[in-house]
Symmetry: C2
């Protein structure tokens, strides 16, 4: 069964208080997005990669690839106005065949090969596999001016990869309107009637959306190098 | 109206894979707990501080105070077997008077004077004030082997300080059994019938429970110093 990964890198950089979109910010001397792609490439040589970028960022990305001698057969697709549209554009590039597709945020470079492998294996068996972690902090549900305590053990914080049988998630994106999607692919799949299956993500698999996240990623990567040597 | 703060530092250090309890780990050359206490002391000189420590940690703390020339009028109380018991021990030290008390985790050194001030002001007006932030990640609710998407905008992740009118929270802790408490003071207050009022916490107000958290705190503090200069 063919395996694909759609890496979604649609950020404009506004939350980072910087001109550079966050997927292009440097992490240990290399754009965040290159780290992310490299983890997927290291998972399996047969994996086919689709990278979704905002139209305006494509030339910037091409320059960065030259600068960093990053030459890999990655299919680049231009994104839409929202994450939903960008993922949909990516999905429409895939052949209509019985395959698997992992959808992953370009700004999560600390995903591991282990998580990716588990994700494909679970999606193959059950149709979907969503990386998730227990909640670290207590949560409350807001009700007007006050709030109500909630047992956090009932909930999971969800990450990417979110992996599916390609034909199912393609059809879900064709049939489920953007207005019915929450923030991620799991909600589109669920609205379409698919069962959402969770796998263990990792607290280190952070999404880089603030300057502090970038510092944390640097720290985690530093720690990892020390551990490996 | 008198203002108190109970700083709860009950950790044994097991999650940090280290012998040193996490509240004593060094952050920029000083134990995490000292940073936390200093933010509260900088908020107002009239604030009265109660520090709850595990019995076995009290001599260690006294040595650290000597080593770092940290001499402040802080009332040290020995903790209980759980966070619930430790907070209760702290509350029982406070006089039976119409005052306010902020309960705060010893391992959240990045709280700000602004959050503390807002917390006391809101608790004075409404009886309670719980620092909270919007959820950064999507969440799902677990149901057996599968999961259900949830609209995360309905929820908040909660932090400390959790500030209350002293007489109310004391009575809540006297009447509400530990088995009915979830993980924090807000849940005890709520079970007792108090209305939970939220204030804006901060994503930087992290709880230091893993080695990565300590690195992140170092990074945030480094960034702050640069910003200030």
């Amino acid at each position: 069964m063919n395996e694909y990964a759609i890496i979604v890198a649609g950020g404009s950089g506004s939350r980072m208080q910087t001109e550079t979109p966050k997927q292009f910010l440097e992490l240990q001397g290399k754009p965040v997005l290159m780290h992310t792609l490299e983890v997927f490439m290291s998972y399996a040589s047969h994996l086919k990669l689709v990278l979704v970028l905002p139209e305006a960022s494509i030339p910037v990305w091409q320059d960065l690839c030259k600068m960093h001698s990053f030459h890999h057969p990655i299919h680049v697709v231009s994104g839409g106005k929202s994450r939903y549209q960008s993922v949909k554009n990516g999905l429409m590039q895939l052949p209509q065949e019985d395959s698997l597709v992992a959808i992953h945020d370009g700004v999560r470079p600390l995903v591991t090969r282990g998580i990716i492998a588990e994700s494909f294996a679970t999606a193959k068996a059950y149709g979907s596999a969503i990386a998730a972690t227990p909640l670290k902090e207590s949560i409350v549900e807001v009700a007007g001016d006050s709030a109500r305590s909630i047992d956090r053990t009932r909930f999971r914080s969800i990450q990417t990869p979110q992996t599916f049988k390609t034909l199912l998630i393609r059809e879900a994106y064709e049939q489920i309107d953007e207005r019915h999607a929450l923030t991620d692919d799991a909600s589109v799949a669920e609205k379409f009637g698919l069962t959402i299956r969770l796998i263990a993500g990792s607290y280190e698999n952070i999404k880089i959306t603030t300057p502090e996240d970038l510092l944390l990623a640097e720290s985690i990567m530093g720690t990892k190098k020390i551990r490996r040597s």
